[in-house]
Subunit: 709 residues, 2 copies
C-alpha cells in the first residue's frame, strides 16, 4: 500500500493544470520551484491560451500531452476542478494533487462537491492529495510539487526527517525551520481535506521509507483512527520516532478544525491516550517539533543511567540541571578519575568540577575541548549536554563537533546567546551535531528519546504475551451473565453470597466476616438506596437480621431475586471504565475514586487493547493515585492485583466488542493485599431493543451519590 505513495511522490512526469504563463504570478510557483530545483522528470504545463510557459511546451488539454503523466497538478478555480479530475481519470493518470480550496472545509454544498471528487478518484483508482493543501516536497528526488514558499528556498536539504501535515501552510513552516537548522527532510506531504491520502497513510509510507528515520506531524484531526494507530505502531516498530504538533485542543480550535479541513478533531484526551501508548512525542511549538524531530531523526540512543552537564557559566549550569532533573533525569556524581582529570584542566577559580562541570567563560579552546572529551569519557553517564554561553564561535564549534562525532554516546549542545552565537551554531548544524538555543528543548529532546524507547519496550513485552480468546456471551447481559463474565475476566469481586432469608443472610455474614453490606437484588429496582434496598457497614448479626427484614418488607412489591450479602472491604478507591472515542475507539480510563477524577480530569487513558505495562504506566499518570505507593508510613497498595483487575476490565470490554457503549467499575477497592471490584455497570447496544442497559452493581464501602443513583 505504501508503494503507491512512494511512486506518487517520485513521479517521472507531471502535468500542471492552472499554471499561468506569467511566472511572477503565485499560480506559477509550482513550475518555478520545479525548474529552480532541476526536477529531473518531464513537466507539461496545460494551458489552452499559451504555446510555451517557462520555456516549456504547453498543451491545451491533458489529452493532448505526448505521454500519460504520473501526476497531475490541479490549481484551477473550484468550479473547474471536477472537469479536470474527470479528464485525468479517463486518461488513467494515476495521481492528482488538488490545490484548490472551497470543498469539504466550507459547507454542505462543499462537502457534496468533495464527495463527487472522491467518487471519481475512487472509481479510477487514483491517488489524490488534497484538496485544500499545498502539495508535497520530495527532497531526495528534488520534486517540490508545492505552492508553499518553502519549495522556493535556495536549497532543499535531503535528510531523515519526514514531515506530514494536514495544513499546507504549517507543513511549509516546518520545512523552512528545519532547513534553517540544517535539518534534512526526506519529504513534506500536506494532505488538506484528505479526500484520498491521509496523514495516516503518510506515516505508513515514512515507516517503510528507508531514508526516513523520524517523522514530524502537524494534525488538526485524525479521520481514520484505527489506521492512524496502526501507522504509529508501525513507525514505533521500525525504530522511528513520531513527533506531533496536535492542533484543536480548545473548543474554538476544534470548531475551526471542523470548518478548516473538515477533520473530526475528536477529543484531545483520546489523542493523548494514543500518544502515550505508542510513544508519540507531543510538541507544543514549531521550535520543539523541528528541534526534537531533527534530533530523533539523527539519534536513536536513549540515556538510561545519567546525564553529564558541562557549561561555561554557573547560571547555565543551574538552568540545564533544572530542566533535566524536573524531567526525571539524574546528574550523577562523576567518577573520581574524571574529577581528577578535570582538576588538571580547569583553573583554580572554576570550583565546580563535578556534575554539572562549570569550566567558566575564560577557558581556552583547547582546554574546553579536553574538558568536554573528559566528561564524555565518564563511565557513569550515557549522554552529555554542554551549555555554551557567549560569542565563542567557529573554533569552539569545530572542537565540540569533533568530540561529539567521536563520542560513543549522544552529545547535545545548548548555545544560549543570540545573533552573536549564530556562526557557531551554524557550524554545529552543518556537522549534524544536535544544537538547541535553550536547555528546555534539549531536555525535551532527551525526554522524547527516553519516552519513545520505553514505548518500544512496552510494545515488545506485549507482543510476547498471548491474548486470551473468549467468545462474547450471546444475548442480553443480565446480572448473572455479567457476574460470570467478570469472574472469567479475572476481575476479583467482593466476597459475597446471594441468599433468600434474613436468617440465611446472618449465616452468610458470619461466614464472610463482619461488617457486611446488604442489598436487595431485583431487576425492576432501579434506585436501590431510595427504595431502602441497601444497607452498609452492618456490624453484627442483629443488625444484619434487622436490616434484612426491613429491606425485604419495603421491597415486597418488586421481583426480588434475593439478598446479596457482601463483606465490606477497605482500601483506596480506584475508578475504572471504558469509553468509546469517535475517532480512536474504546479507551480504558483510570482515575481515583471520589469526585476528584471527574472535577479535575485527573485520569489516564489508553486505547484498547492494553498491556500490563500500559496499565502500570497509567497508574503512574493519575496524580491522585500517588497514594498507592503508600503514604505516612502506610504499606503500599497491591498494585499488582489492581493492574490485574484493570486488565480484566479491559478484557470484558474487548469481549463485548462493538456492543459495548460504556463500562464503569466504580470503585475498585485496593488494599495492601488484593483489589476488589465493588460496583460494575455496563451499557450495551442491543441488537433488538434499541439500547439496553444491563446493570450489575454491587455495594460495599461507603455509598456514594453516583453508586446510589
Amino acid at each position: 500500500m505504501t508503494a503507491r505513495l512512494a511512486a506518487f511522490l517520485a513521479p517521472h512526469s507531471v502535468a500542471l493544470v492552472g499554471c499561468p504563463s506569467d511566472l511572477s504570478r503565485p499560480g506559477a510557483r509550482v513550475l518555478v520551484f520545479l525548474q529552480k530545483h532541476a526536477y529531473s522528470g518531464r513537466i507539461y504545463p496545460v494551458n489552452p491560451r499559451h504555446g510555451t510557459i517557462g520555456g516549456l511546451a504547453a498543451y491545451p488539454t491533458l489529452a493532448d500531452l505526448p505521454e500519460r503523466p504520473d501526476v497531475v497538478w490541479i490549481g484551477v478555480p473550484g468550479v473547474e476542478v471536477e472537469a479536470v479530475l474527470t479528464e485525468a481519470a479517463q486518461l488513467k493518470i494515476p495521481g492528482a494533487v488538488i490545490l484548490t480550496a472551497g470543498f469539504g472545509e466550507t459547507d454542505a454544498a462543499g462537502r457534496k462537491r468533495e464527495e463527487t471528487l472522491r467518487r471519481i478518484a475512487d472509481e479510477a483508482g487514483m491517488t489524490v492529495l488534497g484538496p485544500n493543501m499545498l502539495g508535497f516536497i520530495n527532497c531526495w528526488d528534488r520534486v517540490p510539487l508545492t505552492f508553499s514558499p518553502a519549495g522556493g528556498l535556495d536549497r532543499l536539504i535531503p535528510g531523515a526527517l519526514g514531515v506530514a501535515s494536514q495544513s499546507g501552510a504549517l507543513g511549509g513552516v516546518v520545512v523552512n525551520r528545519a532547513f534553517d537548522r540544517q535539518i534534512g527532510v526526506s519529504a513534506m506531504i500536506s494532505t488538506g481535506n484528505e479526500l484520498g491520502v491521509t496523514v495516516s497513510e503518510c506515516l505508513e509510507y515514512f515507516a517503510d521509507d528507508p531514508r526516513t528515520r523520524a517523522v514530524a506531524l502537524v494534525a488538526e484531526g485524525i479521520r481514520d483512527g484505527e489506521r492512524f494507530k496502526g501507522a504509529a505502531a508501525r513507525l514505533l516498530d521500525a525504530g522511528k520516532a513520531l513527533v506531533a504538533l496536535k492542533l484543536g485542543r480548545s473548543s474554538t480550535g476544534r470548531r475551526n478544525a471542523l470548518t478548516h479541513t473538515g477533520a473530526l478533531a475528536g477529543s484531545h484526551d483520546a489523542f493523548r491516550a494514543v500518544a502515550r501508548q505508542l510513544g508519540i512525542v507531543e510538541a507544543e511549538t514549531f521550535e520543539e517539533l523541528v528541534e526534537i524531530g531533527g534530533f530523533l531523526s539523527r539519534e536513536q540512543r536513549a540515556p538510561t543511567r545519567g546525564i553529564g552537564v558541562l557549561t561555561t557559566s554557573g547560571g547555565a549550569s543551574i538552568m540545564t540541571a533544572d530542566h533535566l532533573e524536573t524531567r526525571g533525569f539524574r546528574l550523577p556524581r562523576l567518577a573520581g578519575t574524571t574529577v581528577a582529570a578535570l582538576g588538571r584542566i580547569l583553573p583554580e577559580y572554576a570550583r565546580t568540577r563535578d556534575n554539572p562541570v562549570d569550566v567558566t567563560a575564560g577557558l581556552s579552546e583547547t582546554l574546553f575541548e579536553q574538558a568536554l572529551a573528559t566528561l564524555v569519557g565518564d563511565p557513569g553517564i550515557d549522554a552529555v549536554v554542554t551549555s555554551v554561553t557567549g560569542a565563542r564561535g567557529v573554533e569552539r564549534a569545530e572542537n565540540v563537533a569533533r568530540v561529539a562525532r567521536a563520542a560513543a554516546k549522544p552529545v547535545l549542545v545548548c548555545w544560549l546567546g543570540g545573533s552573536l552565537t549564530s556562526e557557531g551554531i551554524a557550524v554545529l548544524d552543518g556537522h549534524g551535531v544536535p544544537c538547541f538555543v535553550n536547555p528546555r528543548t534539549a531536555a525535551l529532546a532527551l525526554t522524547a528519546a527516553r519516552d519513545v524507547s520505553e514505548a518500544r519496550r512496552r510494545r515488545r513485552g506485549a507482543a510476547a504475551r498471548p491474548g486470551r480468546q473468549v467468545a462474547a456471551p450471546p444475548g442480553r447481559l443480565d446480572y448473572r451473565g455479567l457476574s460470570a463474565l467478570a469472574r472469567r475476566a479475572g476481575v476479583p469481586l467482593t466476597p459475597e453470597a446471594l441468599v433468600a432469608t434474613p436468617r440465611e443472610a446472618v449465616r452468610a455474614a458470619r461466614r464472610l466476616g463482619f461488617p457486611v453490606a446488604l442489598k436487595v437484588i431485583a431487576d425492576d429496582l432501579a434506585h436501590k438506596t431510595e427504595a431502602g434496598a441497601v444497607a452498609v457497614d452492618l456490624p453484627d448479626a442483629r443488625a444484619v437480621e434487622r436490616a434484612a427484614r426491613r429491606m425485604l418488607a419495603s421491597t415486597r412489591r418488586h421481583r426480588v431475586e434475593g439478598l446479596l450479602v457482601q463483606r465490606m472491604v477497605r482500601g483506596i478507591e480506584v475508578l475504572a471504565g471504558v469509553t468509546r472515542d469517535a475517532t480512536f475507539g474504546p479507551l480504558l480510563v483510570v482515575g481515583a475514586g471520589g469526585v476528584q477524577a471527574e472535577l479535575l480530569a485527573d485520569t489516564a487513558s489508553r486505547p484498547l487493547p492494553v498491556t500490563r505495562a500500559d496499565v502500570t504506566a497509567m497508574l503512574g499518570e493519575v496524580r491522585a493515585l500517588a497514594v498507592l505507593q503508600g503514604y505516612r508510613g502506610r504499606a503500599p497498595a497491591d498494585v499488582r492485583a489492581l493492574a490485574g483487575a484493570l486488565l480484566g476490565v479491559a478484557w470484558i470490554a474487548q469481549v463485548l466488542g462493538d456492543r459495548l457503549v460504556g463500562l464503569d467499575v466504580n470503585p475498585i477497592i485496593v488494599s495492601d493485599r488484593g483489589a476488589f471490584a465493588v460496583d460494575l455497570l455496563v451499557e450495551i447496544d442491543e441488537p433488538i431493543r434499541s439500547r439496553g442497559v444491563a446493570r450489575f452493581d454491587r455495594i460495599g464501602g461507603r455509598p456514594s451519590r453516583r453508586r446510589a443513583r
Copy 2:
C-alpha cells in the same frame, strides 16, 4: 537609595584596573567596548607597565589619576583584588565593579575573602557590583562597562526594558536576544555574588528610572527576601511589569546556585508564592523572557473582554485559538457589522469570517490590511492577534505595522515561518510592533499582561483596607490563650462546650445538637486517640454518656481539665497553615484536606500579609478545591466564610510575629453555610524554653491519622 545606583550606572569617568595593553586580549574588552560605543566620559587605564593603552594615557596606580574617577573597574587576578579595592576606598572612589571570580561562590576561604572586601566597601560607603559577574551596560548613556560579548554588539539599542541578572553570562544573553528583536534595553546590570548591589536594589532602581517600563530578571537565589518583595511591589505600583527567569528549581540546580554565586536559592515554591502575589511573570526560556519582557515594556494595556484572531491559514487559526483559550481568553463572536464588512473583503472560499478570521494565504496585501483594520475595529474585542504564515515580506509587514500603530488596542503578530519570514519580522521589530515566532509566546505575553494587571488591582484593593492592629499575647500560649486568639482573629471554631461530668456532657450535646464528638482535655495527654480520649460521631445521649464515662476512667491518671463536647460539622475539608521560608519569611499555605495536599503538593501559598483577594486567588489555584464550587448538583461551599477564616489564620501568624515557628489548621470544614476550624496547632519559639509547642486541637468530622497523632 536608588540615586546611588543611578549615579553609579552613569559615571563621568572610569578607571580600568587590569586592562592589558594588547586590545585583542579578553581583559581589554571593557576598554574596546567603551571606545566602540563612544562612551562620553573619561577613561583611565591603570597599568604600571604601559604609558598608553588604546590611545589613552595609562597611569601606574589609581593614586596617579588626574581626577577621582566615579567608578573603578577591577579585572585583576583574585589575589590582587583586595589591594585595589583598598586603594580605591582610600581615594574615596564612590563605585567599583569587581569582575574577578573565586570568592564567596567557591569555599569557606573564598567566603572569608569576600567578607573582607565587603568590610572595606561598607566602611568606605562604596557602591560595589560583583564580584563574579560581567559588569553592566547602560544603553541610554552608552556605558558598556562589561566583559559580556553583548557589550561589543554593533549597536546598543536604548529602550524601555531593564535587565537585572545575577549571572553575567545570562544577562548578556538577554541583551543579545533583545537587540536581535530590536527590543531596546535601558540597562543590563549583572550582580554576581552581590557583595554590595543586589538584584533587589536593581529592581528599585528600575522602578524609579523613567526610561524603564518593564524589567527582565534572571536570578538564581534571592539574598534579601524582604527587600525583594518591596522592590517587586514598587515596580507593580509604578505600573512596570517584572518578568523573571528563576533558576535553581531542581536539587542539583539549587546546589549549584549555592556554589555559583553563593546565593541561598530558597524553595522555588516560596518564590512562586511571591510571584503570584506581586504579579511577577515567570518565564521558562530566554525567548519567553525577552519576548514577553519586550512586549510589556511597550504595552501596558491588558485585554479583559475578548481577543480577535486573524490568520492566513486554517492551521494557524486553530493553533492560535488553542493557545489563547487554554489560557482562559475568550474569542467572542464578532459584531454583525464586522462579519458583513469582512464578507465584502474576503474571497468566496475563505469561509471562516468569524473569530478566528481565516483570510487564506492568497489575499492581496491591500485586502489583508483592510481585513485586519476591520477586525481591529470590532467593538467586542480589546486585543487582536494576527498569525501570518508564508513568505509575504516587507509590504505586508509595513501594512500590519500601520494598522497596529493606528489601533486603539494591542495588535500582536505571530509570524510562523522560518528564514523566509525574517525580513518581514525585522520590519515589524523596527516599528516596535510586538511580533512572536509562535502563538504560544503571544498567548503567554497576553496572559502576563492580564496577570500583572490583576495583581495591581488586588494590591490597590488591599491598600484601601485598614489593617487590624492587636498586640501579641504575652508569655506562653496555652489552650485558652490560643482559643481566645482564634476568636479575636475571627477564625470560627466548632460549636462546643467544656464540661466536667458525663451528665453535663449529655446536656451540652443536647444543646449543641447530635451527633457530637467528645474529647478529654489534659495538657499531659499527647496521643489522645491511642489513650482512648477521643470519640466521634456519637449519635445520642446514651452514646455520649457511655463514652464520657469510659474516657474519664481511662484518663484517670492525667491532669484532666475537662471534657470538650463539639458538634460534628460536615463539609469539605480544607487545610491551612503558615510556614516560614528562610528567604521570604512567613507564608500562608492552603490545600485540600486529606493526603492529597501533601502527596501531590497541590497547595497554594502567599507571603504574609495577605488580602482577601490573595486568599480568593489561592483557593482558585488548589486543584482539589475545585469541589468548593459545587459538584454533581451540590450547593457551592461558603467560600466567603472560608476566606474569612483563612484571613484570620494569617492574622494570628502576624500577631505572633517572629515567635511563630509554624501554624497548622487541619482541617477547616466548609459547608454551604459557614466554615469551622476543627484543629489548630501552633508551634512557637519560647524566649526561655528552647522551643515550646503549644497545642490547641479540636476534634470533629472523621478522625484522620494526622489529627489523631
